[in-house]
């Protein structure tokens, strides 16, 4: 691996660890209607929007996996959910030619609703039912956090991935562009 690639990979890992610590050390306690925001999901959404489905997929998987390591919920559920959502946001971003303005804010909010639905739906499929009554406040709060924070996180993601750079996480995981 070339030094520059290693440098970008190191930055990526640092951002993931930083987001994880912020999430469980600070954001998790900032609750509204019993629910809170999700910085790891936000990273996947921002990656998908800034650089398309591949990046969204890779970041979603990595961020979800990192989150799964510190949770008591079924291992792999966050990784699957965030990978799918990051990929979906990337597809929408490409299809719409990455429009600015309110588009990223709206898509990020919708991604919050989608992620909540997928997480709970897959949970039911694998025999870990989450009460449906808990879902509306969770979906709304996650969507609101996503909408508020997506623009600064996109800026961070642009700095991180740069222009026309290969996907570092994908390289590590052995994927191809």
């Amino acid at each position: 691996m070339r030094p520059r690639r290693r440098f970008v990979l190191a930055k990526t890992v640092l951002v993931l660890i930083g987001a994880l610590l912020l999430q469980i050390g600070a954001v998790a306690d900032l609750r509204l209607l019993g629910a809170t925001g999700d910085l790891l999901l936000l990273l996947a959404v921002a990656a998908g929007w800034v650089d398309g489905p591949d990046r969204g997929l890779s970041w979603g998987f990595a961020a979800g996996l990192a989150y799964d390591l510190v949770l008591d919920t079924p291992f792999g559920l966050s990784a699957l959910t965030y990978a799918v959502v990051g990929y979906a946001v990337g597809l929408v971003s490409v299809a719409l030619s990455r429009p600015a303005g309110w588009w990223p804010v709206s898509i990020a909010a919708l991604a919050g609703l989608l992620a909540t639905g997928i997480y709970a739906g897959v949970g039911h499929l694998v025999g870990v039912p989450y009460p449906f009554g808990d879902l509306p406040p969770v979906a709304l709060v996650v969507a609101a956090w996503n909408a508020v924070l997506i623009l600064p996180v996109m800026r961070l993601m642009r700095r991180l991935v740069g222009a026309q750079k290969p996907d570092r996480i994908a390289l590590v995981l052995g994927g191809r562009r």
Partner: protein, 276 residues
């Protein structure tokens, strides 16, 4: 900026989705290697998280002040009423006696017998929206191990689901995966209670004979039957409703937990591993 192809890399999509599903399959079965990895990560991460939590506490307090403003007003009014009442009763020595008795009840758990206990502070709430677990500030260094029951003076709170050196995770009884064998305090009928989510009552939908007469307010305690994960006699909740279940083959109970697990400050871990 170059954007990935609209269809993305199908190979990567397939590989990562398969990897996620495989991990999830192992995760749902809670295989030992994943549990070990999580415990290892917890040992490394928990002290750092503790530092982040300490640094972010003012932010959390400010947030709660804003978002719980309505509740704080109500609480404030309630506290003023209580204060006035206490001031009026100040001269009465019985007040001090009552408070002393109440304090004794919260510190001593009369139902645990000679099982050793460890008192712990709840250091943080659930780490995600779908988690029903809290962190406590005591761990294996204090004699806490996975599987130990956790309670307060009011009754059962949950069980230790993960433990590292200085912290532990407590799975709350509101977790939909939580199960506990229970016994009706009045007639000894056995059943299994399960969590149904945050703020929801427990459900007992297996084990209770349909001919059993269960009155509203009937208490439930842990059954402690052979190989139970909990010692017998820990108060769990009170029946608030009964209904016919399983096609008339069982009686379903709706049970209100005795402890509000959404607002815990201190808990007691029972150093009971089921071998006693």
């Amino acid at each position: 900026m170059a954007i990935s192809r609209p269809t993305g890399s199908r190979t990567r999509l397939v590989v990562l989705l398969l990897a996620s599903v495989t991990l999830l399959t192992f995760g749902v079965r809670d295989v030992p290697v994943i549990r070990d990895v999580r415990e290892g990560v917890g040992t490394v991460v928990d002290p750092v998280v503790g530092a982040v939590q300490a640094a972010a506490r003012p932010l959390g307090n400010a947030w709660n002040g804003i978002t719980d403003y309505g509740n704080l007003e109500d609480e404030n009014a309630e506290l003023r009423d209580r204060l006035a009442q206490l001031e009026g009763d100040r001269v009465a020595a019985t007040d001090a006696e009552t408070q002393f008795a109440e304090l004794s009840r919260s510190v001593d758990l009369p139902y645990v017998g000679d099982v050793p206990t460890v008192a712990a502070r709840v250091s943080s709430g659930p780490r995600s929206n779908f988690s029903h677990a809290v962190e406590i500030d005591k761990g294996t260094d204090d004699g806490i191990a996975v599987g130990m029951p956790v309670a307060t003076g009011g009754g059962l709170v949950g069980r230790v689901s993960r433990a590292s050196g200085s912290t532990a995770t407590v799975e709350l009884l509101s977790d939909p995966e939580f199960r506990v064998g229970v016994r009706l305090a009045e007639d000894g009928e056995l059943g299994t209670a399960r969590g149904q989510g945050r703020g929801e009552p427990l459900a007992v939908d297996t084990g209770i004979d349909p001919d059993t007469e269960v009155a509203e307010g009937t208490g439930l305690v842990t059954s402690g039957v052979d190989r139970s994960a909990y010692p017998a006699g820990i108060p769990v909740g009170e029946v608030t409703k009964t209904r016919e279940g399983s096609g008339g083959l069982a009686l379903d109970l709706v049970v209100e937990p005795l402890v509000d697990v959404d607002s815990l400050s201190y808990v007691t871990v029972l150093q009971w591993t089921g071998d006693e």
